[in-house]
């Protein structure tokens, strides 16, 4: 379990988080959403120990992240948005270098994922497109077998079929009890995949709830008129989509983009609804 307690973080004099608390139990795919610059990537870096909190703690299975002890690092893999790869290396060589450090690494899983993502393990990185490099890194990261997988904008650079393959792969990994945290702007790419959803705002966590809880508290109405009591309304082909407080207990289909806008525009109300 990843636990963040009373955490403060700032870049010099610019505060990023103030007294935030979050818990990521095992076996789910968390979606980490937020506007640009609210600290999504920073939060991932704090979790894997690349940034040190100013105050408070972040632990992974009880181990303090920023100590970066080998036991902790063997449990966590972090795939940043941008990575520099050695041009002359290949995905196979890349995992061969990493594998001795991860007792849970599986060569079979790596080859299976590479095949599923349609990338050749023996092809040099310099001969690959950005998307193919990204897919290689995703396969390499997931084959390490760590309990926690942190992905920063993982679908950037992936083509449409690859995004579907990516979703399918992650679903299987989550079923094995792994915890996956995805930080992304491309909410459409991970819709129906992420659950629970965490939305960050400047210095704080605005929402941390499962999809079930969200749809219990909010109702997503499609194709109607614009409503005065809506937390967010958007004109779509076929009518308005409204996000309103769910007062009747009726079920509805979550729309993450609408949820995101509703949360950002009604911060206090959302806190009340999810308190």
């Amino acid at each position: 379990m990843i636990e963040i307690r009373n955490l403060d973080f700032s870049y010099k004099k610019t505060p990023v988080f103030e007294d935030i608390n979050l818990t990521f139990p095992q076996g789910a795919i968390y979606g980490l959403l937020g506007e640009n610059g609210v600290g999504k990537t920073t939060l991932l870096k704090i979790i894997c120990g690349l940034q040190r909190p100013v105050k408070g703690t972040c632990t992974v299975d009880g181990l303090t992240s920023h100590d970066r002890l080998p036991a902790m690092l063997q449990r966590v893999v972090f795939l940043p948005d941008e990575v520099t790869l050695p041009d002359n290396s290949t995905p196979q060589k890349y995992v061969d270098e990493l594998a001795p450090f991860y007792p849970t690494f599986s060569q079979g899983t790596f080859l299976h994922l590479m095949q599923e993502l349609e990338v050749e393990p023996a092809r040099k990185f310099r001969e690959m497109s950005f998307g193919q490099q990204k897919k290689s890194l995703i396969a390499a990261s997931l084959s390490l077998g760590t309990d926690y997988v942190l992905l920063d904008e993982p679908t950037n650079g992936l083509d449409i079929p690859s995004k579907a393959q990516f979703r399918s792969i992650l679903s299987k990994i989550a079923d094995e009890g792994k915890t996956i945290i995805i930080s992304t702007h491309q909410v459409k790419d991970v819709e129906n995949l992420i659950d629970p959803i965490v939305i960050l705002s400047h210095n704080a966590v605005l929402l941390d709830a499962s999809v079930q809880k969200i749809t219990e508290r909010l109702f997503f109405e499609y194709g109607g008129q614009e409503r005065d009591d809506a937390l967010y309304s958007e004109l779509l082909p076929g009518g308005y989509m409204n996000v309103v407080p769910n007062t009747t207990g009726a079920e509805s289909q979550l729309n993450i983009e609408a949820l995101f806008n509703a949360v950002l525009r009604n911060k206090d109300r959302i806190r009340e609804l999810f308190a």
Binding site: K45, G49, P70, A71, L73, V76, F78, T84
Partner: protein
């Protein structure tokens, strides 16, 4: 496994660091093997002397060359450790910070210079066996050995180790400019060692070494200051 230091993990990390930079090491070895004899001949030619300067001259040149390569090496092998895109990979490797630093030090300060020197000495011996002009005596017959006392070697080692560490993580604009300056100084040292052996007596070789050690000590302190942030925190 220990969470502070584990010899097996240290070995894995050492193998990892060697395997991940084959091009850099191959290029350096190739330059040493291919570049050493022609450079020796060239410098002798430039000074207008004949090919008979002896083993002390060759050892001084070889030492200068090895130190020059070894000092430049961390900036290519470990330069990316201080950069965000590649540094994250390095920082996330499941080994302790101490193990990572120790592997760097072992490779850059001990193993690579020793291998380079061995390559140079093997080549020198081969050329001596073949009686190539300028290689009339074997390196172990050099007179310069009598001037290498323990105090001097410790002095060189301390400054050398400091320089290595200083250069590993320095990626600031200032450090890049400084590195260029250092390269210039190393070249002057190279020339100075050569000239001192060629034109004056051997005692002055020792003086040149002490002078270089003093200059390097100042440079090391400056580099260490530049790189302190990365050394202490290694955050990205």
């Amino acid at each position: 496994m220990s969470q502070s230091f584990d010899i097996k993990r240290f070995g894995k990390l050492l193998r990892h660091d060697v395997r991940s930079m084959p091009m850099e090491y191959s290029m350096m070895g190739a330059w040493m093997a291919i570049g050493f004899p022609p450079l020796m001949v060239l410098f002798q030619y430039l000074t207008g002397s004949e090919y008979n300067h002896g083993a002390s001259y060759r050892l001084a040149m070889m030492t200068a060359m090895v130190v020059f390569w070894a000092m430049m090496l961390p900036t290519s092998v470990y330069a990316n450790v201080g950069k965000k895109k590649r540094g994250i990979y390095f920082a996330m490797l499941p080994a302790t910070k101490a193990e990572k630093h120790l592997v760097m030090a072992a490779l850059m300060v001990v193993i690579i210079p020793a291998v380079l020197m061995a390559v140079g000495l093997a080549l020198d011996t081969l050329l001596s066996v073949l009686h190539v002009p300028g290689w009339d005596t074997f390196f172990w017959q050099a007179e310069v050995w009598q001037f290498l006392d323990v105090q001097m070697l410790v002095g060189i080692a301390v400054v050398y180790v400091g320089s290595m560490f200083g250069m590993m993580f320095a990626n600031t604009v200032e450090s890049k400019g400084f590195r260029t300056m250092l390269q210039g100084l190393m070249f002057l040292w190279f020339m100075g060692a050569f000239m001192s052996v060629m034109l004056v007596d051997l005692l002055e070789v020792q003086d040149i070494y002490w002078y270089i050690i003093a200059v390097e000590a100042v440079l090391t302190l400056f580099l260490a200051r530049l790189s302190r942030h990365r050394m202490d925190r290694m955050t990205y």
